[in-house]
């Protein structure tokens, strides 16, 4: 027995979640991130673990890790000097993209500058066709000339993305061979290797994002592996992935495209686990940090998946846990426009200078400052933010809020509450779009709130959305790290077939799935060296003929094997009906992509139940809080004092190491056996 450690690196803090298999205890820990020296925070955290909890590196038997190093490389544009090879006459693929602009009402709206400038895109003659046949042979001399051109512009790496390579990658493979021979050691990656999907822009931009960051990520993972070995951690680190799973760090060095959104994804995985433990079927997960709120839909305890999630300015078309990011968080700044109307965001104080109450130089009022002014945060004895790294400066918060209270002609606390309400109504707007997109009703769902500012805002958000129940996990500040700790080993596989769903095509479809299964098992058993139980999920991207979008439809393995067309079609009709509320049972169906997900389940930590409460929960002190236009008395409780079965009513404040829960009147809290704090709207 030993310890399992999950680590998630965010912009401000690095979160640790530790499960001690001997005692069954779950510890959390936050240390400041060191973006300038990635990896150092991991070592700092390991030292802290030993000091605080006596956990030594050599006791760590399982180590998972999520990092933003890839995303930050894109956002800060600090990737390698990358070049792109495309099919001749299609070199503008990144410039043209899909034509659509971010804000169609603005004549000045523009696409972000591509990661590879057009001057570093080189044309390769040769042509594959849709059916995989070769129309014109690859011009190998042109490839060699392009390598010279790459050298001339100081290129540090190449992405090759040729038309129809998802169907027949022979030309891309040959380009890689030629480059390897002509320029040994020069980094090159082909679009079919990253994610072989039809649609040239989507495949190319995905490969470009991957290529742009890969050498940086690989270097980081290498340093991390070395640092962990030196620290004495024996097990190979596992890296969290955008699909909510994990893979070995070694695999991450070449498959980094799959780990770019791992932080948000593992937060949702953590939220799903919380939902299951709290016996919640359908939920919205709400992860609020300093600058953004990430919302995801959990149905039947499972996350939803999608493609096209944004990495900085660019969409990446790799299966990813679907998360909607709202540009509003604890650090969002309030201001008053020229017409006297109060606005919140989109500007954020971020982590530097941060809210005024952090006393780091921020002077403009943020949502967090509003909570200080309203008395929810900053009570003398309540635990500060970030394990004592932050001390609340209440006066600074008041001064900041005063700057908008004056023009609004309101009291300072009145203005603070107005800020919260306006900010929450902005979140309501974005969540409304999300639930309308899914066709779901939030009133029938629970809100799983986490992140540094999630529990602070949860009651306000729930009230605005008419949600009746909120679940706040035991360690809301480190749920992404917790999610990594319990994640499965998981990978996605895809093959484009573009076939009508009919008997004559079933052999091709079966062969395709057989090939994907072989690939998947190879990945799990050999590359990941995982020997435990594995699950294979078969699905296909399907559509009615004439439609331009596909639905990923889960298929029965037996139906595929038996060529049961009726069952495969029924699965699609059912999914179409569920998503769009109609199906056309007579229309011909096309199968565009075959897909397979392989899941290996490592043993999961088994958390012992929380001890039963023996007496009523006693508040540690009382504060005055401002809500609904008046001051009220509210109790402050400590999370660590809570036992299963404890109940109390709002208004109240729950303080814990990694965040503060602000509970409004009209909510009643109970503590469940898993240690979740469950807030239910009364009446």
């Amino acid at each position: 027995m030993g310890c399992r450690v999950g680590v998630d690196i965010g912009g401000t803090f690095t979160d640790f979640c530790v499960f001690d298999e001997d005692s069954g205890a779950l510890h959390s820990l936050k240390v400041l991130s060191t973006p300038g020296n990635p990896g150092a925070e991991v070592l700092a955290g390991l030292r802290e673990l030993e000091q605080r909890h006596g956990i030594k590196a050599d006791q760590i038997t399982y180590f998972t890790h999520g990092t933003t190093v890839g995303v930050n490389t894109v956002i800060q544009r600090k990737g390698i000097n990358l070049c792109l090879f495309t099919t001749e006459h299609f070199e503008d693929v990144l410039e043209v993209a899909r034509l659509k602009m971010p804000d169609p009402y603005d004549l000045f709206s523009r696409r972000p500058e591509p990661l590879v400038g057009r001057e570093k895109v080189f044309a390769i003659p040769g042509r594959m066709l849709f059916d995989g046949s070769e129309d014109a042979p690859l011009d190998e001399d042109a490839v060699r000339a392009a390598v010279d051109a790459v050298r001339a512009v100081g290129g540090e790496g190449i992405v090759v993305s040729l038309l129809h390579a998802y169907r027949n990658p022979a030309h891309e493979r040959r380009v890689v061979e030629i480059v390897n021979r002509a320029a040994p050691g020069l980094f090159i990656v082909a679009s079919h290797q990253v994610w072989p999907i039809i649609r040239e822009y989507e495949r190319t931009v995905t490969a470009v994002v991957a290529g742009y960051v890969q050498p940086r990520v690989a270097h980081y993972l290498g340093s991390l592996q070395a640092a962990l070995v030196e620290a004495g951690v024996g097990s190979e680190p596992m890296i969290t992935k955008s699909n909510g799973g994990v893979m070995t760090a070694e695999a991450g060095k070449t498959q980094c495209a799959q780990m770019l959104l791992s932080g948000t994804a593992s937060g949702v995985i953590g939220a799903c686990q919380v939902a299951r433990m709290a016996d919640v079927r359908d939920a919205l997960s709400l992860d609020i940090g300093g600058t953004s709120a990430d919302v995801a839909v959990v149905r039947r305890g499972q996350p939803q998946y999608g493609v096209g999630e944004m990495i900085g300015d660019f969409p990446i078309h790799i299966p990813t846990v679907s998360v909607t990011s709202i540009g509003e968080g604890g650090g969002s700044i309030a201001w008053v426009d020229a017409h006297g109307v109060l606005k919140v965001g989109p500007e954020s104080a971020g982590s530097n200078p941060g809210p005024a109450c952090y006393g780091q130089g921020g002077t403009r009022p943020t949502i967090t400052d509003a909570f200080v002014v309203c008395g929810f945060l900053g009570a003398p004895d309540s635990a500060g933010l970030g394990y004592g790294q932050m001390e609340m400066r209440n006066e600074m918060a008041r001064d900041a809020v005063a700057t908008i209270a004056d023009p609004l002609d309101m009291s300072i606390e009145g203005a603070a509450e107005a800020m919260i309400k306006v900010g929450v109504s902005g979140m309501y707007l974005e969540v409304s779009k999300l639930v309308a997109r899914y066709g779901i009703d939030p009133r029938e769902m629970s809100l799983v709130a986490f992140g540094g500012a999630g529990p602070m805002l949860a009651c306000h958000v729930a009230r605005e959305l008419n949600m009746r129940r909120i679940v706040i996990p035991p360690t809301p500040g480190v749920l992404s790290a917790f999610g990594g700790l319990i994640a499965d080993i998981k990978n996605d596989f895809i093959q484009t077939v573009y076939l009508d769903l009919e008997d004559a095509n079933m052999p091709t479809i079966r062969d395709g799935f057989d090939k994907l299964r072989a690939e998947a098992l190879q990945w799990l058993r050999h590359e990941q060296a995982f020997t435990g139980a594995a699950t294979l999920l078969y699905s296909a991207d399907m559509r009615y003929r004439g439609q331009s979008f596909e639905i990923d439809t889960l298929l029965g393995e037996q139906d595929i094997g038996a060529g049961n067309i009726a069952a495969l079609a029924a699965a699609f009709h059912g999914e179409h009906e569920r998503l769009y509320e109609h199906a056309d049972v007579d229309a011909p169906i096309q199968m565009i992509n075959l897909r397979l997900v392989i899941v290996g389940q490592p043993p999961k930590p088994e958390l012992p139940p929380l001890a039963e409460a023996e007496a009523e929960l006693a508040p540690v002190q009382e504060v005055r809080i401002y809500a609904d236009g008046a001051w009220h008395r509210a109790a402050i409780y400590r999370r660590q004092d809570m036992r299963a079965g404890h109940r109390f009513k709002g208004p109240a404040v729950v303080a814990q190491d990694d965040c503060t829960t602000c509970m409004l009147a009209g909510f009643e809290a109970s503590v469940d056996a898993s240690g979740n704090l469950v807030l239910e709207a009364e009446g």
Binding site: V96, L99, Y105, I198, Y201, S425, A436, S548, Y580
Partner: protein, 663 residues
């Protein structure tokens, strides 16, 4: 404002959430691929008077922000709870603007009183009529553009009106799609209604009523503040479509914008008579018609993107739209392809405003590229394929701050293309090239955005190609403040081959296996003097293949030798080039300059005045006779002051004793 500003902002977010939820519901449940692909639909919430106070901005068409439902609401004499009304008649109340657009509205009641309407439209792929998809520029009467349903209740007290439904479905080519999309619209209305009830429960009905009125006032105040920051004055601008009908004469839209304090007047006197084709813009002469307001909304929002978009914005403006002209045609003029004229109209509004704010607004965006459709039998499957292969867009105009965006942008920003790989999988064509067209952007300190170019080869016999909204082969996108015009659009059959054909503005043709087509939009206009563009930026354009070495030298005075700037030669070329540069505010391009040697502003003023005095059904006819005759005039007879037009007009009329001028 009676309501406090904090509640207003919160209510605003809730109203927008309602409008966005309606849009997402419609988008999610719509049946037709057309709606899903083009997002040609709207949703919104209006006051009981029909003023739209909230619209979605994430999804849907960008054209209908200021749409006012008042006229159609009033055409139904009584509403009960559970009623839903619809119309697709462009001549019943001027809310619907061409027959494929099915507009729908539902009253929302609270304690027996209407508190607002939830509204929206969807573009149906087909509503019957003379041609599939109901749109063609050869049509001249609205009757040919499909069935028209005047405002009617499709649901009465929650019960479907099967009579209206069956008449509609009997007259369209793909009734299941129209029916499916109508269901999605109804679902969106019901979503909106539910959201309004939730808002009333949260805010109270009085706050809701006051708040929705205040949201209109708020948008108006914002818009007025933007207008107030512009200088007072009169700003004239006119531009042309290449042809009013196939192989016809240019069609002019003229606009005089008056800015006075925080208000605007748009006077369209001088615009061409209504057309015996389908590019007429049906406005009914409304002082604030949504189709006219599109360009204004773009301008105001671009000047300040915090502008809340609703009908309140258009309150700053009043329009004068002479009856019987392209901007206010009389029944039963066809209006199906007003898309093309409305796009030109937007550019004309941009052209007038850029005089008022030359340091804050861009040059003309590119246009003239078509929506390309291919109809052919797939050799592999033997099935007929009808597919929209791509909208051929072009870039944004150069602006005071940067180059125009390449390939798309500005008022075409909502367009989406189809991937090459999908087209080749679905349609029996081979794509030979898709990308940006070098040297197409108007040179400038900030260059105009490049056109997109598509080249493809047909693989099947009898491949029918439609290229809707072709234009700008002659009149190009204008540059401003020394920036140059963009290049003309291109439509060629078998380019570079023996039998190359310049197809001009042809919008439909049949080609066979092996035939190749090249199609490109026009380029966008440039902003500022190209000879002051940083040489490094010109060099980068050359390295990127956006500008040729020859153009760099000719248009920018930057001489590039062996991949580097030749400093001495550049200094010399720039000195020479700057001397030759024109000081004109606009650069219209060669096609328009040549046309306006004959058709001066004075001549157009005379023509407008003379045609205005004729009965409407004679105007277009006489315009053509005048153009024919004027073309034959000797250069020495041209004075440009209108006198030659008066003379020609009098001659023309002599041939038509049937025409009786009103006394």
């Amino acid at each position: 404002m009676a309501i406090d500003s904090v509640t207003l902002e919160i209510l605003k977010n809730h109203c927008r959430a309602a409008a966005e939820s309606m849009a997402f519901t419609l988008y999610r449940t719509a049946h037709s691929t057309f709606v899903k692909e083009t997002e040609d639909f709207t949703t919104g919430l209006t006051t009981p008077d029909g003023e739209t106070f909230a619209t979605p901005t994430d999804l849907g068409a960008t054209w209908f922000v200021g749409l006012n439902y008042k006229n159609v609401i009033e055409l139904i004499d009584h509403y009960d709870e559970g009623d839903i009304c619809l119309t697709n008649d462009p001549y019943s109340g001027y809310v619907c603007t061409h027959s494929p657009d099915m507009h729908i509205w539902k009253p929302v009641f609270h304690q027996g009183e209407i508190v607002c309407f939830v509204v929206g439209h969807i573009h149906n792929t087909d509503v019957g009529g003379a041609v599939p998809a109901s749109l063609s520029r050869t049509l001249s009467e609205v009757h040919q553009e499909g069935i028209r349903i005047p405002p009617a209740k499709i649901m009465e007290r929650g019960v479907m009106n099967e009579d209206v439904m069956s008449i509609m479905l009997a007259n369209v080519r793909m009734p299941e799609q129209n029916w499916g999309d109508l269901k999605a619209q109804i679902a969106a209305m019901n979503t909106g209604e539910r959201r309004v009830h939730e808002m009333i429960a949260k805010f109270g009905v009085e706050t809701f009523r006051e708040g929705t009125a205040a949201l209109l006032d708020y948008a108006e105040q914002q818009a007025r503040a933007i207008v107030r920051a512009l200088p007072d004055g009169r700003f004239f601008f006119a531009d042309y479509m290449d042809e009013d009908v196939a192989n016809g004469y240019p069609c002019r839209i003229a606009l005089d914008v008056t800015i006075e304090g925080d208000g605007l007047v748009f006077d369209f006197t001088g615009s061409d008579p209504q057309i015996e084709g389908s590019v007429n813009i049906p406005t009914g002469g409304e002082v604030r018609h949504a189709l006219i307001m599109v360009g204004l909304v773009y301008v105001l929002y671009s000047l300040d993107t915090s502008l809340f978009l609703n009908s309140g914005v258009s309150r700053v403006c009043r329009c004068i739209l002479p009856s019987g002209t392209i901007v206010n045609p009389e029944f039963p003029a066809a209006v199906g392809l007003r898309t093309l004229s409305v796009q030109r109209l937007q550019e004309i509004i941009f052209g007038a405003f850029v005089q008022a704010a030359p340091d804050r607004l861009p040059a003309s965006p590119a246009s003239g590229g078509p929506i390309m459709n291919v109809n052919a039998i797939d050799n592999k499957t033997g099935r007929r394929v009808v597919a929209s292969i791509d909208p051929i867009t072009g870039g944004a105009g150069g602006d005071p701050f940067a180059d125009g965006t390449e390939g798309s942008g500005a008022n075409s920003s909502f367009m989406k293309n189809t991937p090459v790989e999908i087209n080749e999988a679905e349609v029996p064509i081979r794509i030979l090239r898709y990308g940006l067209l070098p040297d197409s952007g108007g040179p400038g300190l900030h260059r105009g955005g490049l056109a997109t170019v598509l080249e493809f080869r047909a693989e099947a016999p009898n491949t029918r190609v439609t290229a809707r909204n072709r234009d700008r082969t002659r009149f190009t996108s204008w540059g401003v403040r020394g920036g140059r015009a963009g290049t003309p659009s291109i439509f060629l059959l078998n380019p570079g081959a023996e039998g190359e054909v310049n197809l001009g503005n042809t919008d439909i043709l049949t080609i066979g296996p092996g035939d190749e087509m090249r199609v490109a939009s026009g380029g966008a206009g440039g902003w500022g003097n190209p000879f002051e563009r940083k040489p490094d930026a010109v060099l980068l354009d050359v390295q990127r293949g956006f500008v040729s070495q020859a153009s760099a030298k000719r248009d920018y005075g930057v001489v590039i030798t062996n991949g580097a700037i030749d400093q001495a030669a550049t200094a010399e070329a720039r000195a020479r080039g700057s001397g030759e540069a024109s000081n004109a505010f606009y650069d219209y391009g060669a096609g328009r300059e040549e046309f306006e040697l004959l058709w001066t502003r004075g001549n157009y003023a005379a023509l407008t005045e003379l045609l205005q005095a004729l009965p409407v059904h004679w105007r277009f006819f006489v315009k053509h006779r005048v153009f024919e005759t004027v073309e034959a005039l000797d250069e020495t007879e041209l004075r440009g002051d209108g006198s030659e037009i008066r003379a020609v007009f009098a001659d023309v009329l002599k041939n038509y004793p049937q025409l009786r001028l009103p006394a």
